[in-house]
């Protein structure tokens, strides 16, 4: 089987917010196709008696009580320490929605 098409790779790159060069597209197309094809190996396994799961730990109901834990709260300076684009304690980003549209 051939795996992914170029269109599918481009679709995925847009979803992941990545801009790919032509060369990267080709490389990724082959690499991701290999990965997908490898999953086909799994089809050889007999899974009739196995119920589907999305977890490997076997844990259930790991919940916390509704209590404030102030010890984990970061200071505003810590929060903003990774950027120099700030204003009155907030992050500043380019406007995504044009309200006048």
């Amino acid at each position: 089987m051939s795996g992914l098409t170029t269109d599918e790779i481009l679709h995925l790159s847009r979803l992941a917010n990545l801009t790919l060069s032509k060369k990267e597209t080709t490389t990724l197309k082959d690499q991701l196709s290999d990965v997908i094809n490898y999953f086909k190996e799994l089809k050889k396994l007999r899974t009739d008696d196995v119920s589907p799961t999305s977890q490997t730990t076997g844990l259930e109901d790991v919940l916390r009580e509704d209590q404030v834990d102030a010890t984990r709260i970061l200071t505003n300076d810590e929060v903003l320490s990774g950027t120099d684009k700030t204003h009155n304690g907030a992050f500043v980003v380019p406007q995504v929605i044009d309200k006048d549209l």
């Binding site: 109901d61 509704d66 209590q67 834990d69 010890t71 709260i73 907030a90």
Partner: protein, 440 residues
């Protein structure tokens, strides 16, 4: 052509828990300085481990139960991926194929699902040094959010508003959220399409092949106007034989019309997958029973009860609109029983004279009524007797009142009072008179 709107709703409700959904940061964020209630979990920093808030999940399920939903025995969280500056992890923890509650019904409206997710941060769009920017505050990021999705079962704007008001009231009775639209703790989205009415009999289950999503609706008034404007727009297009584009639209109140919001280039593809950091949740019969056990009486049940007491629709609505007031009324009622004070009288002094505002405790109000009683007022039976006579003698005035001349009521009350030689209690006369005339 005669069109009929087909409307479905998505309602988001922020839960009033103490802490956030997956971390211990405070959930109350209104009026707090930006980015001061955040931690590695709700900022989406690498390596942070979310742990789900038990009370939030319980309250989500209680809400679902109030809407007559089935509770999933086995449930889990999923990641919903998209890019937006208010979403620090670039995914939102939500629920996909196993929501906590499904298949509910509220009056005639089918509830598709009620699920649990986390709120996003808040964006403030502004200008800084001549540049259009957004300021990002993550205090709201991770606040527990319940999403309710209905089937497209609404056929009028009025039905939508009525349903939403009832949802808001129910949420408040359950005590799980303030559901304050202005503060954003209740948010609405509606999807809407039109179909020709005549077709209904022939194609009962057929829905139009498009729907327009209306977003960012933050009040009931705004909702009514936005829906009306959108129905008008679609009807005009259909009259002209045009097709309607499936898209997301906002509402411009100044121009009273909806406008297209930039549609995403890619079709919605959120690449949901199970949240690996949160183990699944099993909700047994016992837990559901326990949650049901803690259920307060809901507005619809209270209405039923008050109707049986013979209160007028107006009194009932006023009392039911606030749970604390309804509770006050019932406590007063229980206390008043031994003094032979009627339900109508208590409701009357609460609704018309706000006496419950004057007496913090129902016992105080009852005491006051007992004092008044000793002034030798006419009994309920005497009042009813007098009303019967007055209504019989004043057919025209009664007709005028029924036709909408509210001011005639004062005249009729006066006539009854005259009949009772001034010994009637005005509130009792009024309430009894109204229900007598309406009951005829």
């Amino acid at each position: 052509m005669n069109f009929e709107p087909i409307i479905g709703l998505e309602v988001h409700i922020e839960l009033s828990t103490k802490s956030k959904m997956f971390c211990g940061c405070p959930a109350e964020h209104f009026g707090v300085s930006p980015n001061t209630q955040v931690c590695p979990v709700c900022l989406g920093l690498p390596g942070a481990l979310p742990a789900a808030n038990k009370l939030a999940i319980e309250n989500c399920i209680r809400f679902g139960l109030a809407l007559n939903c089935e509770v999933s025995e086995f449930s889990k969280f999923d990641r919903k991926h998209y890019f937006y500056p208010d979403l620090p992890k670039s995914f939102q923890i939500s629920q996909y194929d196993l929501p906590f509650c499904i298949n509910g019904k509220y009056e005639s409206i089918r509830i598709k699902r009620v699920h649990m997710e986390e709120d996003t941060g808040k964006l403030i769009h502004t200008n800084l040094n001549g540049k259009k920017v957004s300021l990002v505050d993550f205090n709201r990021s991770g606040v527990p959010l319940v999403e309710l999705v209905t089937e497209p079962d609404f056929r009028s704007v009025d039905a939508v508003v009525k349903f939403l008001k009832e949802i808001q009231l129910t949420v408040r009775y359950l005590g799980i959220s303030t559901a304050d639209m202005e503060k954003g703790s209740m948010r609405l989205e509606a999807n809407i399409s039109l179909r020709v009415k005549e077709q209904e009999s022939k194609r009962v289950n057929e829905l139009p092949d498009y729907k327009v999503e209306l977003k960012n609706i933050n009040s009931f008034r705004y909702l009514t106007k936005a829906l009306d404007a959108e129905i008008k727009r679609q009807a005009e297009l259909l009259e002209d034989g045009k097709k309607i584009k499936q898209e997301t639209r906002g509402y411009d109140e100044d121009r009273d019309r909806t406008f297209s919001q930039r549609s995403k280039e890619e079709a919605q593809d959120y690449r949901y997958f199970p949240e690996p950091d949160i183990p699944p949740i099993r909700i047994g019969e016992l837990k559901i029973k326990n949650l049901k056990f803690k259920f307060p009486e809901l507005p619809s049940q209270k209405r039923g009860k008050y109707q049986k007491l013979g209160l007028s629709a107006n009194y009932i609505e006023v009392l039911v609109q606030e749970r604390a007031r309804a509770d006050y009324f019932e406590t007063a009622l229980a206390l008043a029983k031994q003094y032979n004070i009627s339900e109508k009288e208590i409701a009357g002094v609460m609704v018309n004279q706000n006496l419950d505002g004057k007496f913090a405790e129902p016992a105080g109000l009852v005491k006051k009524l007992v004092e008044l009683q000793n002034v030798d007022y006419a009994s309920q039976a005497d009042v009813e007797e007098a009303i019967k006579k007055v209504v019989l003698d004043n057919g025209k005035a009664v007709k005028d009142y029924q036709a909408g001349k509210e001011q005639v009521l004062g005249f009729l009350i006066g006539m009854v009072q005259k009949e009772l030689k001034g010994k009637g209690k005005i509130e009792l006369i009024k309430e009894t008179l109204i229900s007598y005339i309406h009951g005829r």
